[in-house]
Amino acid sequence: MKTALFLLRKLASDRTAALGALLILMLVVAAIAAPVLSTHPGDVSEFHPPERLQGPSLEHFFGTDRMGSDIYSRILFGARITISIAVIAIGVSVLIGVPIGLIAGYYRNWVSDALMRVSDVFLAVPQIVLAIAIAQTLGPSIENVILALSVTYWPFWARLVYSETRSALNETYVEASIALGASPWRVMLLHVLPNISSSVIVRTTIGMGGTILTAATLGFLGLGPPAPTPEWGRMIAESREFLPEAWWYATAPGLAIFLVVMGFNLLGDGLRDILDPRTRRSVDG
């Protein structure tokens, strides 16, 4: 609780990080309160062909799409999809990657080599290409997007945690704990992991942005959830044939993706500075 308050205060004093946090907060609010905030909640699945491709107005803040649905409302509901894809995919990646990195980093034997070579295989192929291949094979659905992203993202965390663990093992306090008789699990979970957690948190925050971008790319390529799901990438793909006349059609989801990805990146950069333990108590004395 104290730590949370401290974090908030630190965030408030760092302008760019605060902006990032604000953007993410907006995304979360949009996702949770989508039914309340949206002007045409039914338009996620309802079509009004006579009203198609209308420009922005008081009735339709971001105009309407090719089916006559309200783009503003669809973007709010799309935030739910974006968040669930990003949170689940990143969560799975962290749960797979962090333990693998820890174990491979702590032990220096063939198991750790094997684990790292496997993650190297994944890292050798550009992540987006691999994700496309998997999503393509499995067919378009939210679950498959999440699966494709998780399978291709965990090696990043394994790599990061591996190298951080290796350098943490050279720290005197880790050696001291081992000399004191601490078991490998104790050293890994209570000494190494907390001390490398800040870089994991930073990487995870920035990784969120990357995942959202990749998810949107998959959606854009038609590998995401099928129509009429209001997935942002799919919305941009649909808008292409009406450009440049229906400029609002692509602009609104594009802007949403841009702001959310930027939000995660700014927050991640801000957290990097804030989470340095040496500066911890210096503010609240």
């Binding site: 005197t172 001291a176 081992i178 004191l180 008789g181 108590r281």
Partner: protein, 323 residues
């Protein structure tokens, strides 16, 4: 007197690797070190930086696996213990780090760091552990309020006290003190040294005191071992070694101690420049390249550590002849 710890021909070689990770040689950090530590004594280990003092301490502790030789602690051979067996041993055999600040987890409050050895090695409940931590904190002379501070919030002298408290909670029988006074100002050094002596009486401790500060060693150690490039070159009662050093290296080291009202460097001082590269040692006696007395035979025979009676041993061909 009984031996608490006996080292027999202890060796620790570190491989020297080239850019392709191929071994091109060995760095002999410990080369055939044999000595004993008696229960209740303070054995000083002195020598220049890089002579293997810390490696000696860490190898005894099992932090580095030895390349050869045997370590016998309380009558048991502990050279090749399995990891879980050696974890048990940690209760009795402890090591304090040169930099006590770095040996404390920066994210753990002092109280939690002091609690950890008890969590690992005892079945005490939370309240009993808390009581024990309080006792030990009082024993090293720190206020209770420090339990809630992080390591970077206390001074170097206090960190050293915490480091000592941390290992004393388990009531070990042998403590290896690695440069325990380095980086402390003189008044703090004195209080810390007195603390060591008090705790030794209170907890019945045996110390291996690794230091390059000869005046401190003279003050508190019962016996002293002088190391040069991984070998013990002289070993004996502190007073005997300091008043009548036998090995030319010891003589030279001692003449480097500053004395008030005397010349900083006397005619006995020969140590110029750095010791030879430990990865590429000279043949025979490894001190001969800096020794003014070196003769032809010194290049051929590596002198063994020989006891000339009264427990005062040295490793020099020439002193053998003279003595």
């Amino acid at each position: 007197m009984t031996d608490l710890l006996r080292l027999e021909g202890l060796k620790k070689y570190f491989p020297i690797l080239n850019a392709w990770k191929r071994r091109t040689g060995w760095l002999r950090a410990l080369d055939d070190v044999s000595l004993t530590v008696e229960r209740g004594e303070i054995l000083g280990v002195v020598g220049e930086s890089g002579c293997g003092k810390s490696t000696l301490g860490k190898t005894v502790m099992g932090i580095h696996p030895p390349t050869g030789g045997r370590i016998i602690f309380e009558g048991n051979d502990i050279t090749d213990l399995k990891p879980h067996e050696s974890r048990e041993l940690r209760r009795d055999l402890q090591y304090t780090y040169q930099d006590p600040g770095a040996s404390l987890d920066p994210r753990w409050k002092i109280g939690r760091s002091l609690d950890e050895p008890l969590v690992i090695h005892t079945d005490l409940n939370r309240a009993a552990r808390k009581e024990r931590v309080r006792e030990i904190l009082a024993a090293v002379g720190l206020p209770e309020g420090h339990l809630d501070l992080y390591p970077h919030e206390i001074s170097g002298g206090q960190q050293r006290r915490v480091g000592l408290a941390r290992i004393l909670t388990l009531q070990p029988s042998l403590v290896v003190l690695d440069e325990p006074t380095s980086g402390l100002d003189v008044s703090v050094q004195a209080t810390i040294l007195n603390l060591f002596l008090d705790l030794q009486k209170q907890f019945d401790l045996t110390y291996v005191f690794i230091s390059h500060d000869l005046s401190v060693v003279r003050m508190i150690c019962d016996r002293v071992a002088v190391m040069y490039l991984g070998k013990v070159v002289e070993l004996g009662e502190t007073e005997a070694v300091f008043s009548s050093p036998r090995h030319p290296y010891t003589r030279s080291l001692l003449s480097a101690i500053p004395m008030i009202g005397e010349r900083r460097i006397t005619e006995d001082f020969w140590l110029e420049g750095e010791p030879p590269d430990p990865g590429n040692l000279p043949s025979g006696c490894r001190f001969r390249t800096r020794c003014p007395l070196a003769e032809a035979q010194c290049a051929e025979v590596s002198p063994p550590l020989v006891d000339h009676g009264s427990g005062h041993a040295d490793a020099c061909l020439l002193s053998e002849r003279a003595g």
